[in-house]
Point group: C2
Chain length 148, copies 2
DNA sequence: AGAATCCCAAGTAAACTAATCGGGATTCCT
DNA sequence: AGGAATCCCGATTAGTTTACTTGGGATTCT
């Protein structure tokens, strides 16, 4: 249950883009410098995020990446689901898994456990958006912050 | 963010032991048959659980494994943390990670996200014990069941 | 004695991770 | 027009992890 660098770098990159939202395209080498990651590796992550429609890119000099919509419209879950893959802890929770693929699909007790785990993961990560990260108002103690 | 077979088989094995709690030692081949897993592979998982004190073993004929305490005293989190490893999604959340190991340790925004993720994971998995699994009273819709 | 079981350590094929490498296609700026 | 800056794409690779398998030894019951 460890996040890969894809999810970590991906979110950090998106956080950086959120900080500079509205300032035009930000080149990857700017982000790479801040994070000590190779531009090439970041490119792979950004390609995924671009195909998913979370960022738009402009090529050529003065080009770069920017968020496709305002930071408050992009949740942490949006980002991590793309870069890291879905949160389904087990295969039998994914959409393309049929009843026939596991003989005890219907009444599998442990499956309910993994379902809860997935749901709570989605809930936590979707309760935070990129604006929240920029504002720095996340309470480290709260698990699920109630936004008043 | 996918669970390995260790966490899945481990919990299923413990669920099986919980179902037969009080009936004396259950041999591994009984569990292996039900789960279509090799006895040898299960042995590796049970070794971890035994070293962690969650099960006790008896050797020789008529031997096997049994829970070291009643099912309601063992949470799903207890089991999965042992077989799967801790839930720290990133290294900088683990105990042996010092402030010096990451220059922005103190005021790292994304780290707060991963912290929340870890806390909610622990919360969900510790809210269920092996007795709950046996009772079959888990509501598939609830993320965190309130036991009344 | 012999069967059933747990115990331990090593080996292994396949997949995955985290990159790196090399080059091509656009676009801006002068 | 030329050159620099940038994104874009696909291949390769070293290292790690996963999910086992193999082979045997120790203990206990009958």
């Amino acid at each position: 249950m460890r996040l890969s660098t894809r999810g970590r770098y991906g979110l950090r990159a998106m956080y950086e883009l959120a900080l500079h939202y509205g300032e035009g395209p930000i080149p990857l080498n700017f982000i790479a410098d801040k994070q000590m990651v190779s531009v090439h590796y970041l490119e792979q992550l950004m390609a995924k995020l671009r195909r998913a429609g979370l960022v738009v890119s402009s090529r050529g000099a003065q080009g770069g990446y920017e968020l496709s919509r305002p930071p408050e419209k992009i949740t942490v879950g949006d980002v991590v689901r793309i870069t890291e893959g879905s949160f389904d802890p087990v295969q039998c929770l994914s959409n393309d898994f049929g009843d026939d693929d596991c003989e005890q699909f219907g009444d599998c007790v442990v499956r309910l456990v993994w379902k809860r785990l997935r749901d709570s993961t989605n809930e936590v990560l979707d309760s935070l958006n990129l604006r929240d990260l920029c504002d720095g108002t996340i309470d480290p103690e709260d698990t699920l912050s109630e936004k008043s």
